[in-house]
């Protein structure tokens, strides 16, 4: 099958099967998405970052924790592409391994938070009544505190480290998802097609899982992508304040924290991980923005 | 002639290419009542808005001739357009719930329109607003003037809208489905009010609607639009002699009390009409 046949199959006005219709719809979304250069840029950067983190051991030129005290705080050169830090460790290799820590934290938070928020929101929105009141009160309590400060207090209460940072961020990140899913569910719940499904005798669980949750997914994906950048920033801030990943771990935020005292003279040492954070966060923001335009056009 | 339009086309860009919404519409309007009838998406509304250049910026408009009282709309400056819009032509939209500014009182919206052209003081404008409200047969003018749009009924809101557009004494009134959002009884009242005002002031009226019998009752001439073209133009009395199959189809789909039918026919569309 040549490309043109694929395209006509995908863009067919009269799809022959459900699969063809579904893939046609996805292909059209992809066409819309591709037309947005900013979003494509974000996607490319995000993919490159994920690949770089996955293949860090192959791409790294040095062991990220190998110290070379004679050659500390070196300027970028052929041997050390991005220079060395205060213990003579290769910044480029640390950056790659740091990406694993950062992206790992982001993914863990999202995996914990998105299903939880979706479940809480759908249940609260679908059943209403006391379940709604109770769940939303709990949500409000968490929303009442600024995210970073609550996360800081949580981490301090457990003890500083990657795991507690993930838990702390997750604990502070789920309420907006619940709110969003609830709002979507409320608007879906009273539509005629849900009434029709209910008339055919479908159970509440089936309605929520098969009809309500999938419709919330679009805005949820957008929200998750945009949120990834803020998770990256919160994680980095925690690291920077000494409450996230602990040195010698090559987490980007803590790399800046330890190199901060050299900032006025060897400014590139803390600046390079800072740029990494900025690029990663920007990539997810661009991607999320583009996804929103495609998946959720009403909310531009 | 108030409005002259020849071979008007309007297109909108979409990811799949340009979408032709209006494909060569020609019409003229003097001091008369012209009805434009067609289904949703037939291009009637945007054709009328093109006269006031009120289309979204991405719309691509071309025409051999597009004039308002001899002024070329295609080349007119924004300043000239503003002089036409407020002073010489008014536009009434479908649903006053959306077409009135929700955070301004009815009175201040009318006063704003009046002041924009007549350059009077605030007090004069407020008084003019009350006078205009009484002209559209509102009894409790002070209460209505002080009310916000969401506090008014649909019929009241549409009267406010009419009063606002009549403020600068325009020569042309474009009414874009002015009664579609209203109850049937209120519809008749609003139409009678508009007819009265238009004929008393000697204005031209362009009435856009999807209700063929209503328009033919009310207007001197009727243009029937389908898929971006005028398929038929009729004098109001000649409705029964309509030739185009689309117009005939529309008429046949109407239930009547005098000749009841067991089953209403379904509209059959011929792809040839699109050509």
């Amino acid at each position: 099958m040549s490309a043109s046949i694929d395209r006509t199959w995908l863009l067919s006005e009269a799809p022959a099967s459900r699969a063809q219709a579904a893939w046609g719809r996805r292909y059209r979304l992809w066409c819309d998405f591709r037309a947005n250069p900013l979003a494509m840029g974000g996607l490319v950067i995000a993919v490159v970052l994920v690949l770089a983190a996955l293949f860090a051991p192959l791409l790294a030129t040095y062991d990220p924790s190998a110290q070379e005290l004679a050659n500390r705080l070196a300027t970028p050169s052929a041997a050390h592409w991005l220079g060395t830090d205060e213990l003579g460790r290769d910044v480029y290799s640390r950056l790659l391994f740091g990406g694993r820590v950062t992206l790992g934290m982001v993914i863990s938070v999202v995996v914990l938070v998105a299903p939880l928020g979706l479940a809480v929101g759908c249940v609260a929105g679908y059943f209403g009544g006391w379940a709604d009141t109770l769940l939303m009160r709990v949500t409000d309590v968490f929303l009442a505190f600024p995210r970073l400060i609550l996360a800081l207090a949580f981490v301090a209460a457990i003890h500083p480290g990657v795991t507690s940072a993930v838990i702390a961020i997750a604990l502070t990140a789920w309420p907006p998802y619940a709110r969003l899913a609830r709002a979507e569910t409320l608007s879906i719940r009273n539509t005629d097609f849900i009434a029709a499904v209910r008339l055919t005798g479908a159970s509440s669980v089936r309605i929520i899982l098969r009809h309500v949750a999938p419709l919330c997914l679009g805005s949820l994906i957008v929200r998750v992508t945009l949120d990834m950048s803020s998770i990256i920033l919160t994680a980095a801030s925690l690291g920077f304040l000494g409450m996230g990943a602990q040195p010698p771990s090559p987490e980007w935020g803590s790399m800046i924290a330890t190199a901060r005292r050299f900032f006025l003279d060897q400014w590139w040492v803390p600046l390079i991980p800072g740029i990494a954070i900025f690029v990663a966060s920007l990539a997810f923001n661009l991607l999320g923005d583009g996804l929103r335009d495609v998946l959720d056009p009403k909310q531009r | 002639m108030l409005v002259e339009m020849q071979n008007l086309t309007i297109a909108f860009p979409t990811p799949q290419g340009m979408s032709q919404a209006v494909r060569g519409v020609s019409m003229t309007l003097g001091q008369e009542k012209l009805g434009i009838v067609g289904e949703s998406g037939s291009g009637k509304s945007i054709s009328a808005r093109a006269i006031l250049r009120l289309l979204p910026p991405q719309a691509v408009v071309t025409a051999d001739v597009l004039r308002f009282d001899g002024i070329d709309i295609k080349t007119a400056s924004e300043r000239q357009m503003r002089a036409i819009r407020g002073r010489r032509a008014g536009l009434i939209l479908q649903d006053p719930k959306y077409s009135l500014n929700p955070i301004m009182t009815a009175g201040s919206q009318i006063a704003e329109a009046w002041r924009n052209q007549k350059k009077g003081s605030r007090r004069e404008a407020a008084e003019a607003a009350l006078d205009l409200l009484s002209q559209v047969q509102i009894r409790d003018v002070r209460r209505v003037a002080a009310a916000y749009p969401h506090e008014l009924s649909g019929g009241m809101g549409q009267r406010v809208m009419i009063a606002m557009m009549l403020a600068p004494d325009p020569e042309l009134l474009i009414a874009d489905e002015p009664t579609s959002a209203l109850d049937a009884t209120v519809q008749a009242e609003i139409l009678r009010l508009m007819e009265d005002l238009v004929s008393r002031r000697g204005m031209g009226l362009m009435l856009i609607s999807h209700d063929l019998p209503l328009v033919s009752h009310f207007c001197d001439r009727v243009a029937v639009m389908y898929a971006g073209r005028v398929v038929e133009e009729l004098g109001a009395g000649e409705l029964l002699h309509a030739k185009h199959p689309y117009t005939r189809g529309l008429l046949e789909c109407l239930p009547t009390l005098s000749h009841p039918k067991l089953r209403l026919p379904v509209m059959a569309r011929d792809p040839a009409w699109l050509a």
Binding site: L152, A157, I158, F240, L241 | G86, S99, L100, I103, N116
Partner: protein, 315 residues
């Protein structure tokens, strides 16, 4: 309240040891423990905590050995001063930018403003602060270094409001005023950019929504000028929603202040909070978190109230 309390009590660092050091003899430790009421069950401790809270007593900070209330009174004005200046600047720049982007939606101006805003969302605020120090303080020498005032000016102006800029104006001390302003410029600028990005983005989204409204077509059909259509009709309709955004942004600034204050050594509540955290100064952490939480909630309520007051549609 319960949340802050629990956070404090499950801290792994024993507060007793934090006070007297870990070499104290066992009987001293026991005595201090009883003195602090830490030997009683958790719910009794919580009861006592709430009781004290209701009487405006947040306990005593181990680090500064002042009461936490005193400490907060001392550090809080600095944060408020910083956040207020930041939000004023952010609003004055962000709102017009957002409106401009919406009016020119799809143009190069719009794309430029969008990128500017996305960058503001994406840059870690401490990086921005560090870069600002490097460029304006170390390289260009335009701005003074970290802190709130030069040593020469410290303590010169009598404290009236706690806001250094206003206090120096009250004292008619222009040198102190300029010094305070110069020190304020950098941290406030960094925070302002951060919140400007959010404000401009929300303004743009709201404006796009408003400009698509039928009443905007009505306003144009009335022959009003473009400026009046945009500002009186479209913007008038989003002003109320923007007030909510501003309240939330202001609350968010308190969060940004934690990091910014640390970088600029700004003696505000944020720095107080981080230093207390690192020193496991439980009462101080609890107090500061509680105050921030209360302000956050108060701002939310205020935004709701503003909505009801300003929007004729909500009765």
């Amino acid at each position: 309240m319960l949340v802050t309390f629990l956070i404090g009590r499950v801290m792994p660092i024993d507060p007793v040891i934090a006070i007297i050091g870990d070499h104290a003899p066992e009987d001293v430790v026991q005595r201090v423990r009883v003195e602090l009421g830490l030997d009683r069950p958790l719910y009794v401790q919580f009861g006592i905590y709430v009781w004290q809270l209701l009487h405006g007593d947040l306990g005593r900070s181990v680090m500064t050995s002042n009461t936490v209330v005193e400490d907060i009174q001392r550090y809080f004005p600095a944060t408020i001063e910083l956040a207020t200046v930041a939000i004023i600047v952010a609003t004055l720049v962000g709102v017009p930018l957002g409106v401009l982007a919406a009016v020119r939606a799809g143009s190069k101006t719009d794309v430029g403003i969008r990128i500017l805003c996305l960058a503001g969302h994406s840059i870690p605020i401490f990086l921005l602060a560090l870069i600002s120090l490097l460029v304006f303080y170390a390289n260009l020498g335009w701005a003074p270094g970290p802190g709130r005032a030069d040593v020469a000016f410290e303590g010169l102006v009598p404290v009236v409001t706690g806001f250094l800029t206003i206090d120096s104006l009250i004292a008619w001390d222009w040198d102190s005023f300029y010094d305070a302003l110069a020190h304020l410029a950098q941290p406030a600028g960094v925070l302002a950019y951060f919140s400007m990005a959010y404000i401009a983005r929300m303004t743009r989204a709201f404006m796009l929504d408003a400009l698509a409204g039928e009443y905007v077509i009505t306003a144009r059909a009335k022959g009003l000028s473009q400026l009046r259509v945009i500002w009186r009709h479209a913007f008038g309709n989003i002003a109320v929603r923007l007030v909510t955004v501003l309240a939330l942004t202001y609350a968010g600034l308190l969060e940004g202040a934690v990091v910014t204050e640390t970088v600029f050594s700004w003696p505000g509540l944020g720095q107080y909070l981080t230093v207390s955290l690192l020193n496991a100064d439980m009462n101080a952490v609890l107090g500061a978190t509680l105050v921030v939480g209360l302000i956050y909630m108060a701002l939310n309520l205020l935004a709701d109230a503003a909505y009801k007051l300003l929007d004729p549609r909500v009765s």
